[in-house]
């Protein structure tokens, strides 16, 4: 007779059953004991020892799980083409360290199979590393900074000596090619931004600009960032708080082609904690150069998100998923003609179908932060554009509401000064478009113009 536990009232009083029950209970407790012993085993492969914080997996499985996420992001978004020359933005932190490691692994695997293959038809992408040196904001001593930068170089060269280049550029270089001049211009520029959050965000935009500059000057075709789920979750909340709800989807997708060199985020689905853990387990060296905690709204948001994570570990993923449901912009995928040709023919239709839908739409971008302008902002821009006299004024009419509030100074004189200090690359974002437009218009009406007096362009 099968045992029926203590709740059954059928025959359970008999001695025989009692014995059987006892025996069974004994078996169960034995099983429980062996399960407890097994608890230290990896829940995936059953072989290795489970590590704390790895969801019951062993180091190897945990690693494979993260690499799987990375690879899925790369392949399902056709992120890397064989002809690409990738620039990995390395900050020294765990996320970009893992990005560097994974890209390297992917590349070395491909190189191996390329060597082994007969046809050697598809080339293997190239990799370079960029590090933006922001030591001018660091409170550390100069020898410490030198050591840190040396470390960065060591980390990169330890991964592979075959890399074409490591580009270490100070952030002030974006303002002027002369380091000293750049330094004074940058600090003057930052002094004019009164809002702490604005200052921090502006630096972030300059960092992106510097990376773009390095990529452009050295012939890289894509920029890889280590932005992880946790960082994107923070960005979702802080963009909402800064009133950038409209442009938010632009920053949360795997691909962002609005920049001259497209940006891709292959670690978008990994949590910061997981990445730091991997660095720890694999003893991947990291090098934190900046010791400055984020201030203002960004700091508040990150402590809010930390609290949320403590209450529910999957909260960051939910936040990113919410933002993902918002409608992406046309630049959130690769849409250039022939881009997907390198894909196997069975995968190609998936990307090509999506391409034809709304590739005609183009967005007007804020020249400072690069976020697309909402309808209201566009309307404001068009209504004030006509009144703008100087180049600085024209530039500022193109800025989004958020930048206007937290970055731009007040008053016409300050406008001019601020504009004159801006990096050329940023300035040019508006000038090109505006001049082209005006001269185009002038061309159209030139037969009716009586004198050249109004030619103020």
């Amino acid at each position: 007779m099968a045992s029926c536990g203590g709740t059954c009232d059928f025959n359970c009083g008999s001695k025989e059953v009692e014995e059987e029950t006892r025996e069974r209970v004994g078996r169960i407790s034995l099983a429980a004991a062996s399960a407890a012993a097994n608890a230290a085993r990896c829940s995936k492969c059953g072989d290795g020892d489970a590590r704390e914080g790895c969801n019951g997996a062993c180091t190897a499985c945990f690693r494979a799980y993260l690499f799987g996420k990375f690879k899925l992001a790369v392949t399902s978004n056709a992120m890397i083409a064989p002809t690409d020359n990738l620039l990995v933005a390395f900050s020294g932190g765990p996320a970009s360290r893992v990005a560097l490691q994974f890209i390297h692994e992917m590349q070395s695997k491909l190189v191996k199979s390329w060597d082994a293959s007969n046809s050697q038809a598809l080339p293997v992408f190239g990799v370079g590393v960029a590090f933006i040196d922001e030591s001018i904001f660091s409170l550390k001593q100069s020898h410490e900074i030198e050591k840190a930068i040396e470390n960065v170089q060591l980390i990169v060269s330890s991964i592979s000596s075959v890399y074409k280049g490591i580009h270490i550029k100070p952030i002030e270089n974006i303002c002027s090619s002369d380091s000293k001049d750049g330094r004074s211009r940058l600090s003057e520029l930052l002094d004019m931004i009164t809002d702490n959050t604005g200052k921090e965000d502006f630096l972030q935009y300059l960092r992106m600009l510097s990376l773009q500059k390095i990529a452009l000057e050295n012939g890289y075709s894509k920029l890889i960032l280590g932005s992880c789920t946790s960082a994107i979750a923070c960005h979702v909340i802080s963009a909402t708080v800064k009133g950038q709800g409209y442009s938010l989807p632009a920053d949360v997708h795997y691909v962002d082609t609005r920049w001259e060199v497209p940006v891709v985020l292959p670690l978008r689905d990994c949590l910061a904690q997981e990445l730091s853990l991997l660095c720890h387990l694999d003893s991947l060296k990291t090098q934190q150069l900046l010791d400055r905690p984020s201030a203002g709204i960004n700091g508040l948001v990150s402590s809010f998100v930390t609290r949320l994570r403590e209450e529910n570990p999957s909260r960051e993923r939910t936040i990113v998923r919410t933002a993902e449901k918002l409608k992406p912009f046309c630049f959130n995928k690769f849409s250039a003609n022939g881009y997907h040709d390198f894909l196997p023919s069975r995968l190609r239709p998936k990307f090509q179908n999506a391409d034809n839908s709304d590739s005609v739409l183009s967005e007007v971008l804020c020249p400072i932060c690069g976020s697309p302008l909402s309808e209201i902002e566009l309307h404001n821009m068009r209504s004030t554009e006509g009144e703008a006299r100087t180049r600085a004024e024209i530039f500022f009419t193109h800025c989004c509401q958020s930048c206007c509030f937290q970055i731009l100074p007040n008053g016409a004189a300050a406008y001019e000064k601020f504009f004159s200090l801006l990096p050329q690359l940023m300035m040019r974002r508006v000038k090109d478009g505006m001049l082209a437009n005006r001269s185009q218009l002038r061309e159209e009406i030139k037969d009716y113009l009586l004198d050249d007096q109004d030619d103020d362009t």
């Binding site: 959050t197 909402t240 708080v241 989807p249 709204i297 508040l300 939910t318 919410t322 918002l326």
Partner: protein, 364 residues
């Protein structure tokens, strides 16, 4: 009094300075929204004018409409009632205003706050209608808490209140229902919907008017009004309001999100408006699946499911299954036909508890 208090608390600042709007009087306060230092009269003016502007720009009301003001006796609804009746007179909106209160049956809380609403009825000369959970659902909150304990009781209260307001407004043939939700509330809802991943609600939660396709649209004239300014207005105008928290959930409003918004406001006052603006501008695809709206088979109230949430919860209560309808439900409300039949016949026999909820007489 306000002048004296403000200046004594802040003697250095107020001395020698003048109101940044009129430039004549001494400033009595720092406006929470803009941090301008202004005098009391100017504060009243900007506060009321902003609400007037919101009402006009969003076409909240039409001349001759009957408007129910959801009044709980708390600061938001008290200020709303006062300001709306004032603006109605001043700008000749031509509205027929009245107060609508819900009596949840919470001893020691709602009975006291209703006394406040009754005083407001006299002070502002607005007729008052009180609808009670007991009449509508056959249960008071006290009885519900006795039956189910202090867990999930707010779910019942929230669902029941929403319907009670609509039913009360329908009984009085109101054209619109206004509630005192302020900017802080809306910003908090935007954040919570992001945290929860609820894209459908995220798209709706910043609408100033909701339920326009339903029988009684609801609107929020305080959508852009800061909570702090509402308190300030009530304080300086010495309005009579009730400020005790519900005894069943003393900390209901102190979630993470609320605290976060208060911290934000301290760093950057306009963050609240920015969150609302973000919420309004989110690019929510038209393909996003939205719940289909239908009507409850039992009571006729709007519902995306077969039974509305209130009927479902009520059924759980009456059958002694308080968990019914708590948490996520998909598709069939978790009630099968037989159960429903059985229940209806049962209630007919008893002829009591559910009858009050039968609202065939209300035209939904």
């Amino acid at each position: 009094m306000g002048d004296v208090e403000a200046s004594s608390a802040n003697p250095k600042r107020a001395q020698g300075r003048l109101c940044s709007i009129c430039g004549e009087k001494r400033p009595a306060l720092k406006r929470p929204k803009t941090l301008e230092e202004i005098c009391r009269e100017c504060f009243y003016n900007v506060f009321e004018d902003e609400i007037h502007k919101v009402i006009v720009e969003n076409n909240l009301f039409k001349c001759g409409e009957r408007v129910a003001i959801g009044a709980s006796g708390g600061k938001d609804s008290t200020v709303l009632a006062y300001v709306l009746s004032e603006l109605n007179r001043r700008h000749s909106y031509g509205l027929d205003l009245f107060l609508l209160s819900v009596d949840e049956g919470i001893t020691g809380y709602r009975d006291d706050s209703l006394e406040t609403v009754k005083r407001n009825e006299i002070q502002y000369g607005l007729p008052l209608k009180i609808v009670s959970y007991k009449d509508l659902y056959g249960w008071t909150m006290d009885e519900i808490v006795k039956a189910i304990g202090l867990k999930n009781n707010c779910t019942f209260c929230g669902v029941f209140r929403r319907q009670a307001l609509d039913r009360g407004a329908a009984l009085l043939k109101a054209d619109k229902l206004v509630t005192g939700h302020n900017a802080d509330d809306i910003a908090e809802t935007v954040l919570l919907n992001i945290l929860r991943g609820d894209i459908a609600r995220l798209s709706r939660c910043t609408y100033i008017t909701t339920g326009e396709d339903g029988p009684i649209p609801r609107c929020k004239p305080f959508k852009y009004t800061y909570e702090k300014e509402i308190v300030m207005y009530a304080y300086f105008k010495k309005l009579d309001y009730f400020s005790t928290e519900c005894i069943y959930s003393p900390n209901a409003y102190r979630g993470f999100a609320r605290e976060f918004i208060k911290d934000l406001e301290r760093i950057r006052p306009r963050a609240i408006l920015d969150i609302i603006r973000s919420g309004e501008n989110f690019r929510i695809s038209t393909f996003t699946r939205m719940p289909e709206q239908g009507t409850c088979k039992r009571c006729g109230y709007i519902s995306s499911q077969k039974l509305c949430k209130a009927c479902l919860l009520l059924e759980g209560l009456n059958r002694g299954l308080p968990k019914l309808g708590i948490g996520r439900t998909k598709g069939h409300n978790g009630v099968n036909k037989d159960d429903e039949q059985q229940k209806i016949s049962h209630s007919r026999e008893k002829g009591s508890s559910l009858q009050s909820k039968q609202c065939g007489t209300l035209d939904f």
